[in-house]
Symmetry: C2
Subunit: 522 residues, 2 copies
């Protein structure tokens, strides 16, 4: 019988939550289920959220705010899901290290910067910093959810679906009018001989298991966001880093020119990129840990000695339990199929977040949770993520929205672009686009100061796409994307008040062209 700790009448501070979560994760209380259930409320639950990640937590918060009654059931001892535990938050710490290391290496020996020639940064130390600190965000979310959002939840216990209205957890059954599945996804496995050796990691096992300092060569398998984000970090630490990409690197950046800038800068940093390459097998050393990887390319098989292989091959939805227990219909990629109301094939069962497939991004997790909640509470809603802004890290922050230049040219008769650096005989060797965090590059290594492009339909004067490589534009792309969907024109953009020096130079550049009746490139 699972031990149950009832915390409904406790009001722990964030710091006290940190201590408790540490005990639940590793200490004495590892098996205790944590109950924050309002036993005084005899209303039936409007919804049980199975899974307390971004989707479940935001959905539950919205439903509660609307006056409904909800219960989150989460197997981890904290809310927020994998993101702060082993996925997006550690990647942000690692990417910040990559950006900082690139700056320090570029400035090596200049101004007050130390000589970085022989400096290899420890991967394990950075992972340890994350591992020690991650209960902080966990604690904040547990605190906020209870004390500020007034949510009910059961943590640190696996819920078992009994039927479309019933979940069993820690020996107790909870009933609700609706069930909202937010079970997330997990890293796809690498399939090759040696894939299960020590020394082979994905984003989750890296954080959970790394207990040695990787050697001087890292091999990353995969070619999309996660592979590049981790690969650039490993490279920045001062290790030979090889990306093994089945087809083409970073196809997700649809604009060819932007992608070219991004990939060229990665190569400048020494990242080696093998496209059209597959893993043949991973070889074990005498200690049982990986000691080499064999890569198959068009030139044959190459053996690369390494004690550290990282793979990022995409995600698989955790749809097995609901498929078995409820018979919810699944799609080709194991995702739970839902309609625009987030309803599965089973009445009163909703699914949200990564469980319903791509885009496996935080905004979709949270918003699908919120929209499911609104539908449960009787609102007429439709939700399909579309035309969202997108983002990844290399050593830089790369943000984009809308159409690539090629896509725009295929769709519209007359496309103009506004770029930095502009097309001039000097190419990238001009200190544009300078702004916060690219000033040192602008003055000492102009080519590294970034790239950006605004794409406009000349006929309607509307912004139809934007791409940015640099720093400090990610936040803006959220609002700019909203404005683009409203029909933002070059004239409206040029009439805004810019904060000089701004990372997206779009406002002032738009203004330089907006006087034209017939728009021209810049």
């Amino acid at each position: 019988m699972t031990e149950v700790v009832n915390i409904r009448h406790e009001h722990a501070s964030i710091r006290e939550w940190e201590v408790r979560i540490e005990q639940l994760l590793e200490g004495s209380a590892r098996d205790a289920a944590v109950f924050n259930v309002n036993e005084d409320d005899d209303r039936e639950y409007d919804a049980i959220f199975l899974g307390g990640g971004g989707g479940g937590r935001f959905g539950a918060a919205y439903l509660r705010a609307m006056g409904g009654r909800q219960l989150i059931i989460e197997q981890w001892p904290f809310l927020g899901g994998s993101c702060p535990h082993n996925a997006c938050v550690p990647h942000h710490l690692f990417s910040e290290c990559a950006a900082e290391l690139m700056l320090q290496r570029t400035m090596s020996g200049r101004l007050w910067f130390r000589d970085m020639t022989d400096v290899r940064a420890s991967i394990k130390d950075v992972v340890d910093v994350f591992r020690r600190g991650r209960v902080g965000p966990h604690a904040i979310m547990n605190y906020q959810s209870k004390e500020q959002l007034d949510l009910e939840y059961v943590l640190n216990a696996r819920g078992t679906i009994i039927d479309a209205h019933t979940v069993e957890v820690a020996g107790r059954r909870f009933r609700a009018k609706n069930l909202v599945l937010g079970l997330g996804a997990r890293a796809q496995e690498l399939h090759c001989p040696g894939a299960d050796l020590k020394g082979v990691f994905n984003y989750a096992t890296l954080v959970e298991d790394l207990d040695y300092e990787p050697g001087d060569t890292v091999v990353v398998v995969g070619g999309s966001k996660t592979a590049v984000e981790y690969g650039c970090f490993f490279n920045a630490t001062g290790r030979r880093t090889i990306l093994v990409v089945r087809s083409q690197l970073l196809k997700t950046i649809t604009d060819d020119e932007t992608r070219g800038y991004v990939v060229d800068r990665m190569r400048d940093q020494g990242v080696e990129i093998l496209e059209g390459a597959l893993v043949d097998r991973i070889e074990a050393g005498a200690d049982g840990r990986a000691c080499a990887i064999h890569i198959k390319t068009s030139k044959g098989i190459e053996r690369i000695a390494t004690d550290f292989v990282f793979h990022a091959l995409g995600e698989t939805p955790n749809s097995e339990m609901p498929a078995a227990a409820l018979g919810v219909k699944l799609g080709a990629k194991n995702e739970v199929l839902v309609n625009s109301q987030l309803q599965t094939s089973v009445p009163n069962v909703y699914a949200i977040g990564d469980l319903i497939g791509g885009p496996m991004e935080m905004f979709k997790a949270r918003k699908s949770g919120v929209y499911a909640a609104r539908h449960i509470m009787g609102e007429a809603i439709e939700y399909q993520p579309k035309a969202w802004p997108d983002f990844l890290h290399t050593h830089y922050e790369v943000s984009w929205m809308g159409l690539s230049e090629q896509e725009a040219r295929a769709r519209y008769k007359d496309i103009i672009t506004i770029k930095m650096p502009p097309d001039t005989p000097d190419g990238l060797n001009v200190a544009l686009p300078a702004s916060d965090r690219t000033m040192l590059y602008a003055f000492l290594e102009p080519k590294m100061s970034g790239f950006q492009k605004l794409i406009l339909d000349a006929a309607t004067r509307r912004v139809v796409g934007a791409f940015h490589v640099g720093y400090g534009a990610k936040d803006a792309f959220q609002y700019l994307n909203h404005l683009m969907k409203q029909g933002l024109t070059i004239d409206q953009l040029g009439d805004m008040d810019e904060l000089f020096l701004n990372p997206t130079h779009f406002i002032q550049l738009a203004r330089l062209r907006a006087g034209n009746r017939t728009l021209r490139n810049l």
Copy 2:
């Protein structure tokens, strides 16, 4: 007779422009006027822009794009004005150094960061980096203005106003239907004995004249944006830095709580702040350079030994010539008075930019130029800067817009705020708001990860103000401010697609509260 170099039929690259500007600034060609005048066009000029800074250049570009004919006359050998030469651009480089140094000092000895205990960064080296590199942006603007914007200009020669239609430059008179004055502003002088000693600088003379390495103590006179921006840089280099402030530091940040966070973090970095203090005199050493400053406070006069005094006391418009030559009416602060059409008291004479007074910000310079151009070209326009977003650097980026919490509470019955860190018993000791460039702080020094606040009118659910201390939000505030002026509500904000982890956590925090019919703080 001034030498004239006619470049109309040359098409120099950006790099070639750099070489030419260097010659014009310091080399053999110092006295040559550079003429880029279209002698084949026999139309009368629609406008002469006297001064080619942000206002003149953008105004001229807009007028030209509308089909008008323009001429810029600029005394420096480059367009763009003081901003890239000695004002906003160097400050951005210095502020980036401040942010970077604070990070390196905070992380000193941890991970791969060197021990910074005894590291004092050279002020002169950073100034030299700027000085060597500043012709780059100059060259870009000369190139862009000629080759991409098709502007006519005369550089490196002082224009003399003859009458409301005529300017003489390098021995030649140019006539135009209108005259647009964009003569800018200059640093106000410090008035006290010793103010003209070597070792006493403002933002312009720092960049032009610094030829020694300042000692271990810096005194900054002034309490607003510029004083703080430079003061934080001097502090970050590892010097004792004392701010001498007549009234209160950073009154420009209207929100008390945000201002408190900003000032507390400055104090944490060791910045010493003397409020209600005045400079009595500056003392000369044996070498004729400043060796001490005497500060008058309520406790009496304190002598501080220093060989480096920096003052930032605001700006005075350069209105003397137009007042004398044309009799344009001036305001109480020497600014040229204009109406909402940017017209001065003299027919056909417009004034723009810093010359017309505050806010002396880039957006206003450029937009006032553009609006003057549109009026000259026959459009009915009105321009008065209002409700613009604002910004400054400490070691952080500080961005804001709209009403402070106090102002909002005075104006509306029911104000709610959404904050990070939230009001909890743990105060600032939680790792919020983490994002790019605050991840290392979030994990190792939570208190330093920033502060942000969104202010909403509960009745209309509208955003009425926002404040942010951290990194990466400046660009967003431009677009967010535009949305706020459109009436942005918490519901619209919560329905946007965020890019996780985003520096303004406003979208997702709004979403956590938007389900409430009656809004509550978060």
